[in-house]
Amino acid sequence: MSSISHDHAHGHGHDDHGHHPTGLMRWITTTNHKDIGTMYLIFAFTMFIVGGLLAWGIRAELMYPGMQLWDPERFNSFTTMHGLIMVFGAIMPAFVGFANWQIPLMIGASDMAFARMNNWSFWLLPVAAILLVTSFFLPGGAPAAGWTLYAPLSVQQGMSMDFTIFAIHIMGASSIMGSINIIVTILNMRAPGMTLMKMPLFVWTWLITAYLLIAVMPVLAGAVTMILTDRHFGTSFFNAAGGGDPVLYQHVFCFFGHPEVYIMILPAFGIISQIIPTFARKPLFGYASMVYATASIAILSFIVWAHHMFVVGMPAAGLLFFMYATMLIAVPTGVKVFNWVATMWRGSMTFETPMLFAVGFIFVFTMGGFTGLICAIMPIDIQIQDTYYVVAHFHYVLVAGSLFALFAGTYYWLPKWTGHMYSETLGKLHFWASIIFFNITFFPMHFLGLAGMPRRIPDYATQFADFNFIASIGAFGFGLSQLIFLIAVVKCAKGGPKATAQVWEGADGLEWTVPSPAPYHTFEEPPHVK
């Protein structure tokens, strides 16, 4: 079923499909899932750099006690925008990029179900990004209410908050369209013979993630819309003087916020579940239980939101319910980790860069899982809520979790996308630099949080100076390490040893049956899965 490779980079026509536009218009008008996937990934990396520069701004101010570089308000806008850009600009679009490239290839579909909507959902993103980033240049500067935009602080902000609200609306629309597309593609366009329980885990995790997105993005849109009307149209959703309640915002936001956490980690689980069996040369242990664990995590994610609000003043019954529900999440998450380890057990492993990142993921993500469990114990959470302990915890799951999985996936599928092998030396250097600097940056933050350093502060008591200095050094190193990734990917896109269709000895799945690079159009005749 493999088709012939065409030189599409130069925009030559294709017999069956007429000609497509060249140059910029090719990218603006494209409906091809591979083009759109590539654009998502480039967009996500660009935003990752912007968010990373903001992180450098934060760490530079925090390197020494005292105020050196920024006004506190500007510092707050850095932490706010770092969060918004990394969550909505970098991590989420990157996973959608993977979905675009890989889901059709992995289920034997010729493209996404709604190709034009796919184009639209991508091109909304740069618009939203421009709204977000230009808010720095508005009177009053970028929003400084934290990425969670808690009312009433967010109601106090300048006009940049309105820009951010509209950016969130647009990104939400984009995510919802993307999710509908993914669900319809997976449910309707699988190759004959590929039953649901034969789908690769990456596809499964994205199917579940897409449902989560459709369920919660409208909730976020509702929350920020209420802020908008409180700001401009005289409503009092979050204003006690008008009969509202500031805590209402937190409930609505966190009802989005917790599933959002799994939106950013479930596809990562999917990527890791593809990579571990490939390099262990052994089938994934407990496929069915992995699917059930993913679904359980998704369902539980809807009933744990108030664990972000343990100090808001809930009654004891509420605290107990949300603590128990949150602790339960450790069970399916544990099952996943055990399954990965069991997959590795008695395998025949090699450690190319994707595998290094995958093993690194399991190791460091699990540490984030442990601190998550500690945060779930409400009495302990009283001491660490809104401290650097929480900052350490969510960076362990979001950087060492989501981001490392994205790197793992990139190295894993890059030969399929470009037709060239990347440089193992650069890849390994990138891995070791990333994991070492990552831990230098974030491990000391556990100590800072335990000892009582609040998060989102531009200056701190002097006993926190040493660990902050170490964390800042780590952050600069971690940022620079990502240049290695950029070089490795650009080099691989430009040339390198030819990749075979199989690419990895232990790889299994439909995407490895098409040539490398994957032709512009694949699976025009659906393959048959036994």
């Binding site: 808690y150 106090q156 004891a316 380890v341 057990w345 008695r346 500690i374 302990i380 809520q385």
Partner: protein, 394 residues
């Protein structure tokens, strides 16, 4: 590892005893702060127990994983087995964690029920969060009626690096909260503008202070001493600069402190009908300004535009005094300018007079406490349309 509930808890306590010794020297750097209340001690012990459980699981899981990483390598000639399912194992590693979690949830549940029980306090104090300081009102019990505002006392020079930083840099206030040792203190939290959180780590107390709502928490400090904490909820520009300082003192010292406060308050209470001179108002106004306004509008009145506008030469400070009074009393919605209605009539009169006659502003306006009282009592109507030109100017 499958000990019964009581046993595992006891085992945890023994381990904890050992670690407490180990941590003693490095306390405050690597671990939770030394507990000063029973609840904080329970939190500390629970955290230690959790660390040990996590460490054991960590060693088991990663022991297996790293053994596999080293032993089951292709380069060592490992041949891949093809097993990929075992219902028994799956059920086992679902059930066992559930039991471990139950063991963790039990002590946590007991502590939650205890820490939510705010009944029968000896003293009730309301802590009000303002951007960016804390107001304390002793509502019930010994000291009833005492109230004051507590703000950061670290000098600007230390923050800006022009002077060496003191030992309690950013953790010191001008007027600390004072409570007696061994008494149950109930703290009611609320806020004036945005959400703050009242947090003293050594007491194991952190409670959001939410505008328009009152929540409560409590502590009973076992040891006399000075305990420090911070606001723990992002509340705007100076969120990092509104610490909490609590002095826990003996019953006698507390009684003496209450007496002193009552006398101070009586002495400091301004006669609301006093007519002030321009110079008096300006001097008082400058103090009020540096405590309440300078963080944003800056000591030199130049502000930090565009977020925090200059007052020097501003339309408000040089225009009709009614508008000026209105913005100070009611704030400006959609901006960081909060309402300062918590200040006394005298303080507001003083600060407005100061702002209108400091730096390059020379309106000559003198606002008297009585003017502020008039505006306050009329809320919407009758803001004086004309600048209040008083003849008492010095």
């Amino acid at each position: 590892m499958r000990l019964r509930e009581g046993q595992s808890w006891a085992a945890g306590m023994t381990l904890m005893g050992a670690t407490q010794l180990a941590y003693a020297e490095v306390d405050g750097r690597y671990n939770l702060q030394t507990p000063a209340t029973g609840i904080a001690q329970q939190m500390y012990d629970m955290h230690t127990l959790m660390l040990w459980i996590c460490l054991i699981i960590f060693v088991l899981v990663f022991g297996v994983m790293f053994y596999s990483v080293f032993a089951h390598r292709k380069s060592r000639g490992a041949v891949a087995a093809q097993f990929h399912e075992s219902t028994t194992v799956e059920i086992l590693w679902t059930i066992i964690p559930v039991f471990i979690l139950l063991g963790m949830a039990w002590p946590a549940t007991k502590t939650i029920l205890e820490l939510k029980d705010t009944s029968n306090p000896d003293i009730t104090i309301k802590a009000t969060g303002y951007q960016w300081k804390w107001g304390y009102d002793y509502l019930k019990g010994q000291g009833e009626g005492v109230h004051f505002v507590s703000a950061l006392s670290t000098p600007r020079e230390q923050i800006e690096g022009k002077a060496p930083k003191g030992p309690n840099y950013l953790l010191e206030v001008d007027k600390p909260l004072v409570v007696p040792v061994g008494k149950k203190i109930r703290i009611l939290t609320t806020a004036n503008d945005v959400i703050h959180a009242w947090w003293v780590p050594a007491f194991g107390v952190k409670q959001d202070a939410i505008p328009g709502f009152i929540h409560d928490t409590w502590f009973r400090a076992d040891k006399e001493g000075v305990y420090r904490g911070n606001c723990a909820e992002l509340c705007g520009r100076d969120h990092g600069f509104m610490p909490i300082e609590v002095h826990v003192v003996s019953a006698e010292a507390y009684a003496a402190w209450v007496d002193e406060q009552k006398k101070l308050m009586a002495a400091a209470a301004d006669d609301p009908n006093k007519v002030w001179t321009m110079e008096e108002l300006k001097a008082r106004g400058e103090q009020v300004y540096s405590a309440n306004c300078a963080a944003c509008h800056q000591a030199n009145g130049k502000g930090l535009p565009p977020a925090f506008p200059a007052l020097d030469g501003s339309k408000i400070a040089n225009g009709p005094v009614g508008d000026h009074l209105n913005i100070v009393l009611n704030g400006k919605t959609g901006t960081s300018m909060a309402s300062f209605k918590q200040l006394s009539d005298t303080e507001i009169a003083a600060v407005i007079t100061y702002e209108r006659n400091a730096w390059g502003n020379a309106t000559g306006t003198v606002v008297q406490p009585a003017d502020v009282r008039t505006v306050r009592s009329n809320k919407t109507a009758a803001l004086p349309a004309q600048p209040v030109k008083s003849g008492h100017a010095g």
